[in-house]
């Protein structure tokens, strides 16, 4: 999924996260509980994040001690903890996801046996195990990918088929202005998203859909697994700012559903108009693209539209984005490609002067004057291009206030 060898393997720096509290965010499945089984340290950020979003009741923690591990009884503690947890909860969950962390990779836990044991003791609840183990990203799926695999792995094959398309791989529902909803409606299809499901049954009904569209790369593997297990075909179409790729997606989508090509002329014209106006308004202002999305794909799209991209502030490169990375590296030596996580990024100086950064991380690092906030609002397709152009215009007219961002990020 990622090519980790693009950047030198050094000590890594973490920029602060400006994540605002998004009340609409739904980080789990409805009617599902998450039990983190880990050293106490590992669960802290998940718990605080849940508290910020007001969804802490969906997650519990079972802290294990060094003694538990060295006495090899760590997984034996889980069934009793589940019982204690269920006794406290006012409503029984339909499913419980047991999260394990990096240390589990070294303990040889038999997850299947654990799930069987739990299923026998609590027959009305579905159980599954999800590894949140960034230590294993060199050999397998990273945690956010595992999470998608586990969520969609709860779906069972069904004989029912609905005229519906699943949009998979997004953490927030796509904003309603996205044309994909209109286009799907025109094709006679309803859109389903995991983060818009209000009940567990609604989530389970995603197994009835006719097609999965992978709008976020983290669900690519889950879509492949769903194709095998549930027989739902998929289209890979992670958010792109390239008009030709978006056209291709909609044509492929119609074809996969056995429909004719949708009329995209209006969307294309509107996007082109916005791009042209923005490019003119920015008047060759240097642009920095950070790793908030698919930086190399976005950078190449902007370059093709005539923007003055001067720096790509990456970190990890998606394998699917390697061609764009290679193109920029080979054809535009004037563009700096920097590793946002490298230890000496704290000494980075802004050599570009007044510039516009797309994403917080680049803006914070360089102390940029103008920033496009990529946080919040989940746009897709042509609409994402329009939103980005609007934000670039707004950013050009404003000066980023990092203190205000800090305050916003910590108020709930």
């Amino acid at each position: 999924m990622y090519n980790d060898s693009v950047f030198e393997n050094t000590l890594q720096y973490h920029n602060p996260s400006p994540a605002r509290v998004q009340l609409e965010v739904r980080t789990g499945l409805p009617e599902t509980h998450r039990l983190h089984v880990s050293p106490s340290a590992c669960g802290r950020r998940f718990a605080i994040s849940d508290l910020r979003h007001g969804v802490k009741e969906n997650r519990s923690h079972l802290f294990i001690s060094e003694e538990d591990i060295f006495s090899s009884c760590y997984e034996d503690l889980i069934p009793d903890a589940v019982e204690e947890m269920l006794n406290i909860m006012e409503k029984q969950p339909r499913a419980i996801i047991v999260y394990v962390t990096c240390i589990d990779n070294f303990l040889g836990t038999d997850h299947n046996a654990l799930v069987s044991l739990l299923a026998q003791r609590f027959p009305d609840i579905k159980f599954t195990v999800c590894a949140i183990n960034p230590i294993a990203r060199d050999k397998g799926a990273p945690p956010n990918v595992n999470l998608q695999n586990v969520y969609y792995g709860l779906l069972d094959r069904t004989e029912n088929t609905e005229d519906a398309v699943n949009l998979v791989g997004n953490h927030l529902p796509l904003v309603k202005g996205c044309e994909i909803f209109e286009i799907l409606h025109g094709l006679g299809m309803k859109a389903k998203e995991i983060c818009s499901c209000n009940t567990f049954d609604e989530f389970l009904s995603m197994a009835n859909s006719r097609l999965n569209v992978v709008v976020g790369h983290v669900a690519q593997m889950a879509a492949e697994q769903m194709e095998q297990k549930l027989g739902i075909p998929f289209l890979s179409a992670p958010r792109s700012y390239k008009i030709d790729e978006i056209i291709q997606l909609y044509n492929d989508m119609a074809s996969a559903l056995g429909r004719g090509k949708p009329d995209l002329k209006g969307y294309i014209a509107r996007s082109r108009e916005k791009i042209e106006k923005t490019c003119k308004y920015l008047n060759n202002m240097p642009i920095v693209v950070d790793s908030s999305g698919r930086p190399f794909s976005l950078a190449k799209a902007l370059l093709n539209y005539g923007f003055n991209v001067k720096m790509v502030f990456g970190g990890v490169v998606l394998i699917s984005d390697m061609p764009d990375y290679e193109w920029i590296k080979n054809n535009r030596p004037d563009i700096t490609i920097a590793d946002a996580r490298r230890f000496d990024v704290i000494n980075a100086n802004n050599q570009l002067g007044e510039c516009l950064c797309i994403g917080f991380s680049g803006a914070y690092t360089l102390g940029a004057k103008h920033m496009v906030d990529m946080d919040g609002g989940n746009a897709y397709g042509f609409y994402a291009i329009e939103v980005l152009m609007d934000k670039m215009n707004e950013a050009r007219d404003s000066t980023v206030d990092f203190n205000a961002l800090l305050n916003e990020s910590e108020v709930w």
């Binding site: 802290r44 001690s65 903890a81 294993a136």
Partner: protein
């Protein structure tokens, strides 16, 4: 043993304790982990991270390196960064995976020091223990290394031990505590570990008295008393009268050189339950007793109990169930605790008085922290006592 937590988040861990202690010093700190441990610290345990760029890093440990025990890769990365960043010292910290695979952080530190010539400290932090253990270990290690018996004592010189953002946040508390003593004619030589530097740590052995403001400072206080004969006062200055009492006690210790832990008199179990950091909770109790005549106050120690600081009836909190049991015991009519604990009261007839603690509720309340010295804390104490201000 294992603990189930349904309502509360996991508390700050030992590696965060070390990192936060070393934040103000001109060194390079590396957590040997995959990513999450460092992210925990910078995002949830360090109120100063936004706006301050400090060389505190993650080693990006990977499974294959852990399985092969390839410490060399880690060491190479640290040396390479050291060559570029030129730190005054290096600290390498363990995390859960190094603990499981038995990484020798002190051995690694020695090897790095041998190759770079830069003083390097190994911390066997695990992520299984709470922040105060890391704070205590960091303070003692740095005092041992940089401090040294001074031939010259500085009359009226004091050190403040156990001052960290995890207990005091980054509002004016640290400055207020320093100002309290400086305003009363003392010289604060070193405030371990906020607003200090390596030179201050070197000079810390000149102090006449140590003032221990959190339980994590007790290990250093004991060490400095034994090694350098510096007596201590164990109390957090709180409110107006409580702060004055600490200042008076420091003066007394300057006279007779006898260490003191400030305890209220005639205390008994019941009525008020304070759940939190032991020293701060003790000092709150002392103020309630001395200024407001409330003697029935029990301290529940969330991060471990130091018996030297405790009353017989104080409680070493084992887990979240233990807190639920105390709340439902019917013994307490008032609870002073981090705001996140309020949800556990449900419909119990217990008055709740929020006292945020960074190591519990992180960024949810760290910028709405109480100021410990002065009128606001006095008003809070009066509120607990039920006295209108």
């Amino acid at each position: 043993m294992s603990q189930l937590c349904v309502y509360l988040p996991p508390f700050s861990s030992d590696y965060s304790g070390v990192c936060t202690c070393l934040f103000d010093l001109n060194g390079m700190v590396v957590i040997h982990d995959a990513s999450c441990c460092c992210a925990n610290y910078v995002s949830y345990d360090e109120p100063r991270w936004f706006g301050n760029k400090r060389p505190i890093y993650c080693s990006a440990l990977r499974e294959i390196d852990a399985i092969l025990g390839d410490d060399e890769k880690f060491i190479r990365k640290v040396i390479s960064a050291c060559d570029s960043m030129k730190p005054e010292f290096i600290a390498v910290l363990g995390s859960p995976v190094p603990t499981i695979i038995g990484s020798d952080m002190n051995g690694i530190a020695q090897e790095i020091e041998g190759k770079t010539g830069v003083p390097t400290f190994g911390f066997s932090t695990t992520g299984f223990r709470y922040y105060n253990r890391g704070v205590a270990e960091a303070m003692v290690k740095f005092a041992k290394y940089y401090g040294g018996k001074s031939s010259q004592q500085n009359p009226g010189g004091v050190n403040i031990l156990g001052l960290t953002v995890l207990d005091f946040s980054d509002n004016s508390n640290a400055a207020d505590i320093r100002n309290l003593f400086e305003g009363n004619g003392f010289e604060v030589i070193c405030s371990f570990m906020m607003g200090c530097n390596l030179m201050d740590i070197q000079r810390s052995t000149q102090a006449e008295v140590n003032i221990v403001v959190s339980q994590s400072g007790m290990a250093l206080a004991a060490f400095m008393e034994k090694e350098w004969g510096i007596p201590y006062v164990a109390a957090t200055p709180l409110g107006n009268e409580g702060s004055e009492a600490v200042v008076r006690t420091v003066r007394q210790v300057c006279e007779d050189h006898k260490s003191r832990v400030l305890h209220g008199e005639g205390l008994h179990d019941g009525e008020v339950l304070i759940l939190g950091e032991q020293m701060i909770a003790n000092s709150l109790r002392n103020s309630l007793a001395q200024s407001y005549g409330i003697k029935g106050v029990t301290v529940g120690c969330l991060f471990g109990m130091d018996k030297a600081l405790a009353q017989d009836f104080d409680i070493d909190i084992r887990d979240e169930r233990h807190i639920r049991d105390l709340i439902t015991s019917g013994k307490y009519s008032k609870l002073v605790a981090d705001p996140l604990m309020k949800v556990m009261l449900k419909d119990r007839d217990i008055s709740f008085f929020p006292l945020p603690h960074v190591a519990v509720s992180s960024k949810l309340y760290w910028h709405r922290y109480k100021t410990f010295i002065g009128d606001k804390m006095e008003a809070f104490l009066a509120q607990i006592a039920g006295i209108p201000m």
